[in-house]
């Protein structure tokens, strides 16, 4: 009974979503209060139905209902409850469902928390387009409630008197389980945080697009700021947690590999950061309004493209252009929004907002420089990620940007931003802005800390990978790493075998730490995962990971790393997140604020 209920809820969510978009649009154009009101109720109803759909899928995951293909793929009887629940965002349809639910929640919070006006209806209609697109994909293509089909016997001719009503139904007794690497606390929190960030950015996107289309550029900038800040904060925390997960799980001693998935989340963050900077000028003096709005729109569009890249892989997606029609909807949405923004931008240029004004102040120029640097960085990362695959897809040469080149790019832009940040206030006559400056100061200070930590982790870096016989030691950066042997344990209930090495770290004959890196094998699914062990210090981390290969006499292949200032990185991103939350919490008293 549960599965049909989930299907019904998803179907109703789609119907109500279409209704919301249609009626909010009618309400906006005809100034029809009743249509807009019903549209708003439909939006709330659609949100409720999507939440119900997600709840049904979670119940199916918890109950291990392997009749559902999604549950079979990501569930398991031996999986702890928390990972059964987090399997909701492990696969494509579950992730899309999570993103849709969070987007609709963010949008509903915007629509119900203020009086229904023409502007609110327009923003609601525009913003609801994205969750509506996701609902279409979920209903028609992705289908979270796809079940294992009943098979009709095909060899009836082989049986002299077959029963025509006999069906074969093979339900797997157990599921394939989440990958072991995903069974960590960081992976419970990291994806929903990123999706929540993407979701919240829908509201500023819609406000920006409505402002551009309606040629009322300065409307609701205070609301735009608040939602942009919340989205930026969630993205910051999500990206930082993803880096932390890579650091403690992947076993290579680093935290950022310029992987397409990582880059895809960095681009919207950079654009949202640029938009937040230009917004400070826009709200005070009405300058850089179009720049702010375009950056806000671009930050959401790159989120959509990020999902397009990360869910299914860009190369697969490029190949899917010819056959996966609905997957292209992502691109159609992005292209349509870019076209709408461009048309409205061209139409509004030169806009009424600028008029005959005095020459821009140095502060405005500073923000132009900040936005330019951040946007150039975002563009470079985006092109560097997508470009090679697109070129190769079009039959061009196949090339790949090396991690060293990426690091140089990151260092150039990172230092450029630091330079602008330090020189900016000095050139513009210091920080003379009104209001509470604690949150921005903390955010900028944490950026300095972040740059120091990243630089430290690249400069103070020693690596050693070697075979160790039992009792053998190796020196790395003044520390002796002694391999003491391995133990093997078997968790029969979870079908997991763990090989754990014992490593003693000493310095000048004094024991500093006992580390026990491990490698886990799931012999039921064939999956495996490295479990690194590390000592965290204020200046350096000592980090050991164990390779699954073992020597004939119990030798172990250990990777030993010393990395500087990594803990500062987590501190910096934590501070940045807190600063974002504090800034979003504070109601701004500056002009350009919320209008009824």
């Amino acid at each position: 009974m549960l599965i049909p209920l989930g299907q019904l809820a998803l179907y109703l969510a789609l119907l109500l979503g279409v209704m919301a978009v249609v009626l909010l649009t009618v309400g906006t154009f005809r100034r029809d209060s009743l249509a807009a009101r019903i549209g708003r109720e439909a939006l709330i109803g659609s949100t409720a139905m999507v939440l119900a759909t997600a709840a049904v899928l979670v119940v199916a995951l918890v109950r291990c209902d392997f009749r559902l293909q999604y549950v079979f793929q990501y569930g398991s009887l031996s999986q702890p409850l928390v990972y059964r629940i987090s399997a909701l965002w492990a696969g494509e349809s579950g992730s899309l469902l999570t993103w849709t639910a969070l987007t609709l929640l963010a949008l509903t919070s915007f629509v119900v928390s203020r009086p229904l006006t023409r502007k609110v209806a327009a923003v609601g209609a525009l913003a609801a387009l994205l969750p509506l697109l996701l609902l279409v994909i979920l209903t028609v293509e992705s289908r979270p409630f796809a079940t294992i089909p009943l098979q009709t016997p095909t060899l009836q001719a082989a049986d002299p008197a077959p029963s025509t009503e006999t069906y074969v139904y093979q339900v797997p007794p157990n599921g394939r389980e989440l990958k072991l690497q995903l069974q960590t606390w960081a992976m419970i929190v990291h994806p929903p945080l990123l999706f929540a960030g993407y979701a919240v950015l829908v509201v500023p996107f819609a406000i920006a697009l409505a402002n551009l289309l309606g040629d009322r550029l300065a409307d609701r900038l205070d609301v735009l700021r608040r939602y942009l800040l919340v989205g930026w904060t969630l993205l910051t925390a999500g990206i930082a947690l993803g880096a932390y997960w890579a650091y403690v799980e992947l076993g290579w001693g680093g935290y950022w590999a310029w992987d397409p998935v990582e880059n895809a989340s960095l681009v919207p963050w950079l654009l949202a950061t640029a938009a937040l900077h230009t917004l400070t000028v826009s709200r005070r003096s009405g300058r850089l309004l179009r720049t702010t709005l375009i950056l806000t729109i671009a930050s959401l569009l790159t989120c959509v493209l990020a999902t397009y890249i990360t869910r299914g892989g860009i190369e697969e997606s490029l190949h899917a252009f010819a056959k996966g029609e609905l997957t292209q909807c992502y691109l159609y949405f992005a292209l349509a929004a870019i076209a709408a923004a461009t048309v409205s931008l061209v139409g509004a240029w030169p806009g009424k907002a600028d008029g005959d004004r005095p020459a821009p102040s140095r502060r405005v120029w500073l923000m132009v420089v900040v936005a330019a640097v951040l946007t150039a960085f975002a563009a470079a990362v985006f092109l560097g990620t997508v470009g090679p695959q697109v070129l190769s897809g079009l039959g061009g040469p196949r090339y790949q940007i090396s991690i060293e080149d990426w690091n140089i790019l990151g260092a150039v832009f990172g230092l450029l931003m630091l330079g602008v940040m330090i020189a900016g206030p000095w050139l513009t006559g210091g920080l003379r802005a009104k209001g509470n400056r604690v949150a921005p100061l903390v955010a900028h200070a944490s950026y300095v800390l972040l740059v120091v930590a990243v630089a430290g982790s690249h400069i103070v870096r020693d690596d050693l990978t070697a075979w160790f016989a039992k009792g053998q030691s190796a020196d790395l950066a003044g520390h002796q790493f002694t391999y003491e042997g391995v133990t093997v344990s078997d968790d029969a209930q979870r079908s997991i075998e763990t090989i754990r090495a014992a490593v003693t770290v000493s310095r000048n004959g004094r024991t500093v730490a006992h580390l026990s890196p491990a490698h886990k094998f799931n012999y039921r699914t064939g999956d495996q995962r490295a479990e690194v062990d590390l000592t965290v210090g204020p200046l350096q981390d000592l980090y050991v990971s164990l390779d699954p290969r073992m020597g004939p006499d119990g030798e172990a292949l250990l990777s030993v790393h010393r990395t500087g200032l990594v803990v500062w990185l987590w501190g910096a991103t934590g501070l940045m997140t807190l600063a974002g939350l504090a800034a979003a919490w504070r109601r701004s008293a500056t002009p350009g604020g919320e209008q009824p």
């Binding site: 009626l23 023409r118 069906y167």
Partner: protein, 168 residues
């Protein structure tokens, strides 16, 4: 007990190329009076891995030409397990596929296909059958009914005479 569905078994048989090759091998092998006993344990579970109640009839089919026509039957014990002992000709050096099924109404629930006979181990071959009825579906008319209500609601709202002005 109702007649077990040989159609389903044949379907699975046809899916397994191994079965054909082994059958061919057996056909060529010299006959022998001695046989080897192999234990097969079939665990019957419902959704969530809960053991099935006692007394569920289970049928095991060993995919040898000589044996496929005569599946063996057993019923589940209190732990939801049905035990079988299969006698294989000693000449069989490779795995012989076997499959267990449970029938409920017109639906056959098969286990995975396992290999029998390759090793001399006395350990029982383990098979699991998950007995869960297919989930229901929303009737097609309900989709049309909901879509019609939707069209009616949206149509009435859009095409009525508007007399409430939305503020800017």
């Amino acid at each position: 007990m109702r007649r077990m569905p040989t159609v389903a078994i044949l379907l699975l048989l046809a899916l397994s190329a191994v079965a054909d090759s082994v059958a061919a091998q057996v056909a060529d092998a010299p006959a022998s009076a001695a046989t080897r006993a192999r234990a097969v344990r079939v665990r019957v579970v419902s959704l969530g891995g809960k053991a099935a109640p006692e007394g569920i009839p289970v049928e095991l089919t060993v995919m040898l030409k000589e044996m496929a026509a005569e599946p063996v039957q057993a019923t589940t014990d209190a732990a939801g397990v049905a035990e079988f002992t299969v006698s294989l000709p000693p000449e069989i050096a490779r795995n012989v596929p076997c499959v267990a099924v449970v029938q409920h109404g017109n639906i056959v629930f098969p286990s995975e296909v396992a290999g029998l006979g390759a090793s001399d181990s006395s350990e029982a071959v383990e098979l699991t059958i998950c007995v869960a009825l297919p989930p229901g579906r929303l009737p097609t008319w309900s989709h049309y009914a909901l879509a019609s209500i939707w069209v009616l609601a949206v149509g009435l709202t859009v095409f009525r005479k508007s007399d409430h002005r939305l503020p800017d």
